[in-house]
């Protein structure tokens, strides 16, 4: 078995949940999300984020608006839609259950 691969698989599973969680606090653009995820060591490279954002947006969980930036090109600011909030609530619930289950197994 491969430890790195296992870790990567775990991260993949929670990545989308983490993105929605970051956006639940306030709307932000990709670099802000990246910054948080990187600090939490959930992603390694930025490129991972973009396809996920696109997919979540296409699934109707996110919406975005363009905002001009003083330093560079215009930025896409993402925020959760109502569907997104419902979806996140489901994931929150599922996460709690998952943590409990894992803890139950680990501490038994």
């Amino acid at each position: 078995m491969d430890l790195e691969n296992n870790k990567a698989q775990m991260r993949k599973g929670i990545l989308e949940y983490c993105i929605l969680s970051v956006l639940s606090r306030n709307s932000c653009y990709a670099s802000d999300i990246i910054k948080e995820l990187k600090e939490a060591e959930v992603i390694v490279v930025e490129g991972t984020l973009y396809p996920l954002l696109t997919r979540q947006k296409n699934a109707g969980l996110l919406s975005y608006r363009w905002e001009e930036s003083q330093q560079g090109p215009p930025r896409k600011y993402y925020e959760l839609t109502d569907d997104g909030r419902k979806y996140l609530a489901e994931l929150d619930k599922s996460w709690k259950e998952l943590v409990e289950s894992v803890n139950l197994i680990r501490t038994r």
Partner: protein, 529 residues
């Protein structure tokens, strides 16, 4: 930098160095093909392009050209497409239509040649199964080894992505080796680190590791073996060439004096021109050289190849060399046959001398001995008691005649000298016998003869032979000197032939003729007493 290029990236214009541009272009192409088959992929690429523009601006400001270093640090931030951790989700995995499976060697999961895992991919089973089969059949029947080598040679390696897809067929995307898009490998770490283990059991993994280690050991063993063989090939080749040069070019004596057979190879080349027609000699030398040296050179080349373990496009050269070698061998055979024809027919001639009166005792005396001759070289034919002596200065060959002594039926002493030569036809052969020079004469009660006959200058050897057949009445005593004794090839007509032969070897030479043949005089005398 010498040249810069203007590009539009996410709506912003950039000045970029040429070498940096090439890297960026490749990177963007990789991105595009990564997301080509993914829903919303185009948008994703656009987002990433925006981000790239942002990174460049934060690094450079708007002034100055984007450098190679800028591009590289940008790629480090965003990551290569194969490092994007997204393949866990089903939706962005590209879907391939069903594909016909083909048998390949699998380079991603191999112990020796990847044959087993290729077979396993083809039959959608575990490579370990085939590995065990190969090992077992090698141990018990030896067949596995050859089957494996055969498959190794026959099967192409699945080097490209399309071949890998063909190798796995529809199971490709289900394999734990990750998903693939175009020419890009996603999830690269998973492929190189785990191979197809994801589908394998724990036991399988353990076995895989064991076989992997065994494979490495086997490979090292194979390399060492190849080097040993290679070195011995090279040494053998060089040694043979050295010997060849020593013998035929420097005529170095002592290396190849094969005393047992009596053939002294060192002088073979010198004798060659007395055996074949002079015009053939240079051709024969060249042809023999090629026929002997070419395989030696090939041997050295193979040795070097095995030592350094390289492959070369030597097919054409090898083929040409082989053709040349075969042609030389054929030419050698043709010349050899042509020369052989000159020995085809045998011609004989004989001269008879009759002694008017038979003395009581006949002395057989040698006038001229080979030991007194000037000859440089000797070549002997084994078991035939036939030697040719060569005088290079006079270009003469000398050969011993044989002497046969038998009882005469008519009480008369006669000497019959029979000469024999070979030629293309009988007439030529007879002519050749007449040219042989041999001296003998009767003086009173002695027969004076030479230990050799001479093949005159300029005439090649033609398996010439002279036989002296002496017929004497029974009761005549014969006295040989030490040299003439050597010439005698007499059949003793007696039941204890072996005893007499041994006497012949040791006795100094007084013999008496009986009606049955020669007998030692002393034993005759003692038996009479």
């Amino acid at each position: 930098m010498d040249k810069t290029i203007n590009i539009n990236l996410g709506g912003t214009l950039f000045n970029i160095d040429e070498d940096a541009f090439r890297i960026l272009r490749d990177y963007l192409q990789a991105l595009n093909s990564r997301f080509a088959n993914v829903q919303g992929g185009h948008e994703t690429v656009e987002d990433i392009e925006l981000r790239i523009a942002e990174i460049f601006q934060s690094q450079k400001g708007l002034a100055g050209a984007v450098t190679k270093e800028n591009v590289e640090s940008m790629i480090a931030i965003i990551g290569k497409p194969e490092d994007f951790d997204t393949s866990g989700s089903e939706s962005d995995a590209p879907v391939y239509t069903s594909q016909k499976k083909r048998l390949y060697r699998n380079p991603d999961d191999k112990i020796i040649g990847g044959v087993s895992s290729g077979l396993a991919a083809y039959l959608d089973t575990d490579p370990v199964l085939f590995r065990i089969l190969f090992v077992l059949s090698t141990i018990f029947f030896g067949v596995g080894f050859f089957v494996y080598i055969g498959l190794w040679i026959a099967l192409p390696e699945a080097k490209t992505e399309s071949r890998k897809r063909a190798m796995y067929g529809n199971a490709y995307n289900r394999q734990g080796t990750g998903t693939y898009a175009g020419n890009l490998t996603l999830d690269g770490a998973a492929i190189t680190n785990t191979g197809s283990y994801n589908n394998t059991s724990k036991l399988g993994n353990a076995l895989n590791e064991v076989f992997r280690a065994l494979g490495r050991v086997f490979y090292i063993f194979l390399r060492v073996f190849a080097i040993i063989i290679g070195v011995s090939f090279v040494l053998t080749g060089f040694l043979f060439i050295l010997c060849f040069v020593m013998i035929f070019v420097f005529k170095f004596p002592g290396i190849f004096s094969i005393n047992e057979t009596g053939i002294n190879l060192v002088y073979f080349a010198d004798f060659l021109k007395y055996i074949v027609s002079p015009a053939s000699v240079p051709w024969l030398m060249i042809l023999v050289s090629v026929v002997v040296l070419l395989p030696m050179i090939a041997l050295i080349y193979w040795g070097v190849k095995m030592i350094f373990w390289f492959r070369a496009r030597d097919g054409v050269v090898s083929l040409v060399a082989l053709v040349v070698w075969v042609m030389c061998l054929a030419a050698l055979a043709i010349i050899g046959f042509n020369e052989g024809v000159s020995f085809a027919e045998t011609g004989k001639s004989s001269i008879e001398t009759v002694l008017p009166q038979t003395p009581d005792t006949i002395y057989i005396i040698t006038d001229h001995k080979i030991a007194d001759l000037k000859y440089e070289k000797q070549i002997s034919l084994p078991h035939e008691e036939y030697s040719v002596f060569l005088n290079e200065e006079k270009k003469e060959l000398y050969v011993r005649p044989y002497l046969s002594v038998d009882p005469s039926e008519d009480k008369v002493t006669r000497l019959e000298v029979r000469k024999r030569s070979t030629g293309r036809n009988e007439f030529e052969a007879v002519k050749k016998t007449e040219a042989l020079i041999y001296n003998y004469r009767f003086i009173k009660d002695s027969l004076n003869l030479d230990e050799y006959f001479t093949i005159p200058e300029g005439r090649k050897w033609s398996a010439d032979e002279i036989g002296l057949h002496l017929y004497i009445p029974a009761g005549t005593i014969l006295k040989f000197d030490n040299t003439s004794r050597i010439l005698v090839h007499t059949h003793f007509h007696d039941e204890n032939e072996d005893y007499l032969m041994s006497r012949w070897e040791s006795e100094t030479g007084n013999w008496i003729m009986t009606s049955d043949g020669l007998e030692p005089l002393s034993s005759k005398a003692s038996s009479r007493k």
